[in-house]
Amino acid sequence: MTTGLLQRTFPTEVAAAIDNYPPGRQASAVLPLLYLAQAAYGRVTADAVVEVATLLEIDETRVRGIVGFYSLFKEEPHGRFVVHYCTDLPCMLRGAGELLPDVCRAFGAEPGQTSEDGLFSLEEAMCLAACDRAPMMQVNLEYFHDLSPERLDEIVADLRAKAAAGPAAPFGLGPPSEIVRPD
């Protein structure tokens, strides 16, 4: 078998992910490998599923079921930045619903859609464990708190600058900036 895109892109990371579990328990690495596959392939494609299943010596159907079960794996094409805007109860009590039109305007997308320029995919998210600083969101899993219309415009400008400056930091491989201790 030829080496797949995941294995070619992240050989060290794949080996480390499998090594994180006891010998013979490589199936445990399915979630870490799916994140890596998502980054390598751009999304979890049918080929990505086959490669993960082959690497872990588990059934493709099992991997496909796992992809469907968890929220953070994307099978459809998405923007460079995936925006998870929380509309769960604690955020809604503090104005997340009122701010939603501004969020759509700032990112140029309605919930469930991607902006025309392909930069932003907007999704409504369930609680992200930062209710003390609502309204809030994650962009490629990086936290942004205390959102307001002005703050949203600043964030979008920063993200656009980041997109213009360099190659994509793929969704799922970590936040675009490696902020270890966010404010």
Partner: protein
């Protein structure tokens, strides 16, 4: 009253997430002491004597949980449940970012106590930055010789590993978490066997919440009597309460268990905008609503909250002010549980779907008078019939809001309310 931080010591000590700072404040001394000076059984007895109870929701005695693990040597595991996903809960998030070494030290002490050589920290997938941070903490531990082979010159070895989830609330349920960690769908397992006997890879396993484990190093350092002097007799120690919703200062507040709710509300600056409270959700989306007057007389411990007919759970207090429409509240929580139902059992999978459909009508002005009876019927068909607690949790907000705030539902279905009827009578009478 001076704040007593046992868990959120990061509030007093800057940069406590750095290994050198944590060690300068006594960090990992109890780890070393346990491994070099204490028998595993002594550690378990000490945690039992302290009366530590699980902080993830159930309040189960931690030392007792550890003691269920068979003593015979062999492959065993400690798994940290850092899958914090309950709406309104953000305590483990702060602990993981600001005081990660304290819960990791607790987890390592737990590993020594049950004879495990591996700790897995299972983090919700959205905690990506937190996991990056934790992995660096583990690297620091390894470099300092605090984890690894033959620790402190003994025969005991211990490793800490970080493992990601990928966005599934149900993985907070310990057996679903174990399935997820094994690379299966995150669906709960039939119990028994309990994880203490057959957990991760069918080996004896202890699963503890992040906050629970963060208590352990200080219990070893100061002793069981010190710990029992905080909190109540049945609920010793402190609890980190995540306060969210309609308050002036939403935040984590660590208080001795048994602190009056009124005081916690004051710490959070009271109800916002000078309004009064309508109700409290004490355990995120999962526990029944408590009306304001009852909540005001309640103390924050498992026993006192239980007398209100609700649950302390993970102590995520969502405060709802007088303007809140309880149909909207129940609709939001229903949306959450429908999204997070794992699909394993039909009462939860189908029932939450029906609840969401009906609440959709009620919140979009399409409510019908018969909807209340249908809601009660669907609730009855889920109640007591689910494989795991998630299905039961999904009923808490609908059932309690229907019982306590019937007028909100009557408005939603377009039925005349008592106040409306009185007004109509007054108009007719020419008042």
């Amino acid at each position: 009253m001076p704040r007593q931080h046992v868990v959120l010591r990061n509030r007093e000590i800057p940069d406590l997430d750095k290994l050198e700072v944590y060690r300068a404040h006594g960090g990992y001394r109890q780890w070393q002491r346990a491994v070099t000076e204490m028998q595993p059984g002594e550690v378990i007895d000490l945690v039992k004597a302290a009366g530590l109870r699980g902080r993830g929701g159930a309040g189960f005695p931690t030392g007792l949980k550890w003691s269920f693990v068979p003593g015979a040597p062999g492959e065993k595991y400690v798994v940290v449940n850092n899958d914090e996903s309950e709406p309104g809960t953000f305590k483990d998030h702060e602990i993981t970012l600001r005081n990660p070494h304290q819960f990791m030290e607790g987890a390592m002490i737990a590993a020594y106590a049950i004879g495990a050589q591996t700790v897995y920290v299972y983090c919700r997938g959205e905690f990506w930055q937190e996991m990056t941070h934790l992995r660096r903490c583990v690297e620091d531990l390894r470099a300092a010789g605090l984890v690894g082979e033959r620790l402190f010159g003994t025969d005991y070895s211990c490793e800490v590993r970080v493992s990601p989830g990928a966005g599934a609330y149900i993985c907070g349920e310990e057996t679903a978490l174990l399935n997820s960690l094994e690379g299966e769908l995150g669906q709960p397992r039939l119990k028994p066997p309990f994880p203490a006997v057959a957990g991760l890879y069918a080996k004896p396993t202890v699963v503890n919440n992040t906050e629970t484990l963060a208590n352990v190093p200080l219990i070893l350092e100061h002793g069981a009597d010190w710990y029992r002097a905080i909190g109540t007799e049945k609920s010793p120690g402190t609890k980190v309460i995540s306060v969210s919703g309609h308050v002036e200062r939403p935040d984590n507040y660590e208080v001795p268990l048994g602190t009056p709710f009124r005081e916690v509300l004051e710490m959070a600056g009271g109800v916002w905008q000078g309004r009064s409270m309508k109700a409290l959700m004490p355990a995120g989306a999962s526990a029944p609503l408590i009306p304001a007057d009852v909540a005001m007389g309640m103390d924050c411990d498992w026993e006192s909250v239980a007398t209100t007919g609700s649950l302390l759970g993970s102590a995520s207090f969502i405060v709802l002010d007088e303007t809140t429409d309880m149909v909207e509240v129940a609709a939001r929580t229903t949306r959450f549980f429908q999204h997070e139902s794992c699909g394993k059992c039909s009462p939860c999978r189908e029932g939450t779907w029906w609840l969401k459909k009906i609440y959709g009508r009620l919140t979009e002005g399409q409510g019908r008078p018969e909807d209340l009876a249908i809601l009660s019927d669907v609730v009855g068909q889920i109640d007591g019939k689910c494989f795991c607690p998630l299905g039961e949790f999904a009923l808490s907000a609908p059932r309690s809001s229907m019982a306590l705030f019937e007028q909100d539902y009557r408005r939603a279905v377009g039925a005349p309310t008592a106040a409306g009827a009185a007004q109509a009578t007054a108009v007719e009478a020419g008042v």
